[in-house]
């Protein structure tokens, strides 16, 4: 239901919630979330464009959450990343165009219940709620091998990408 990009966006926002009001450079976010640096930059600039996060260029800069974003439901993030229909959730499970209460598909009622609880979750969970669970830092696993996820590699690369903006 959640696309890979949307999951990454939520994990990134969780990292920024942990950071509080401090500016966090891209390479650090990448190292801590294991989201590849170039993927991460695209997601962050999208979130900045929509006013969820703000960025500061130059030395000591990076990204941080806008204070007002803390109260926004994660449904907003999904709408930004995956589009209004949040990855086809509002659609019929069969993909029938004509499926509705009057002419339901065979799974209409059951699927509506699953969908309602899913949409409830998106409304009830705020960005503030994405903070890391207590003790998660010490249990963090090293990132799997993948471009940009290694902190040493990431710093060189993203320093360039910040300059380029």
């Amino acid at each position: 239901m959640l696309s890979q990009t949307a999951r990454y966006a939520l994990i990134i926002l969780g990292n920024l919630v942990d950071a509080g009001t401090e500016w966090r450079p891209v390479e650090r976010i990448s190292a801590e979330t294991c989201v590849p640096a170039n993927y991460l930059s695209k997601i962050l600039s999208r979130l900045a464009k929509e006013g969820v996060v703000e960025s500061l260029k130059g030395w000591g800069g990076g990204y941080r959450l806008r204070p007002a974003s803390l109260k926004r439901p994660i449904g907003d993030v999904l709408a930004i990343i995956d589009g209004k229909g949040a990855a086809g959730v509002s659609t019929c499970v069969f993909g029938f165009e004509s499926c509705d209460d009057a002419a339901p598909c065979p799974l209409h009622d059951q699927w509506s219940r699953v969908r309602d609880s899913y949409e409830g979750m998106l409304d009830d969970t705020t960005i503030a709620g994405l903070r890391s669970p207590a003790g998660a830092g010490s249990r963090r696993k090293p990132c799997a091998k993948r471009g940009g996820a290694d902190p040493a590699q990431a710093s060189g690369r993203s320093a360039k990408s910040i300059k380029g903006k």
Binding site: M1, L2, R7, L10, I11, G14, I74, V93, F94, G95, P106, L107, Q110, W111, R113, V114, S117, Y118, G120, M121, D124, T125, G129, L130, R131, P133, A134, G135, A136, R139, R140, K141
Partner: protein
């Protein structure tokens, strides 16, 4: 949560379950479901191998729901096409490997509710129920 292929398979089974005593030709199933013919034949073949559908070649042949298949939960169909992992989901909504009930992520409890509802749906619904 359900791949396109599995959705198509459910649609095919719905058509076959609605006419349990007839053999439907591939073209008829294609016309009724709108699934592209070569995609459909792969799906039907997998359903046949899994014992949900039987087929007969030649004149008067076609596809028919296997006699006991109507009583099987649609979970079985999902397992065939999407694998066990997607039928019995235990994953974290955020994909965090370290997420568990002691160290839950923000969506942990509500996501567990969504997952349970999904599991209920696919275990309680039988292939024959798709015929309505």
């Amino acid at each position: 949560m359900i791949s396109r292929t599995a959705r198509y398979a459910l649609h095919v089974l719905a058509i076959l379950a609605a006419r349990p005593h007839e053999r439907l030709r591939g073209e008829e199933v294609a016309a009724a479901t709108g699934i592209p013919v070569n995609y459909l034949s792969k799906i039907l073949n997998q359903l046949r191998k899994a014992g949900l559908v039987e087929s007969r070649k030649g004149w008067g042949g076609g596809f028919q729901l296997q006699a006991e298949a109507g009583q099987r939960p649609i979970r079985d169909v999902l397992v065939i096409f999407d694998g066990l992992e997607s039928a019995d989901r235990h994953d974290c909504a955020l994909g965090r490997p370290a997420c568990d009930s002691e160290h839950p992520c923000a969506m942990h409890d509500e996501w567990a509710g969504v997952r349970d509802g999904f599991t209920r749906m696919i275990t309680a619904t039988k292939v024959a129920d798709l015929a309505d």
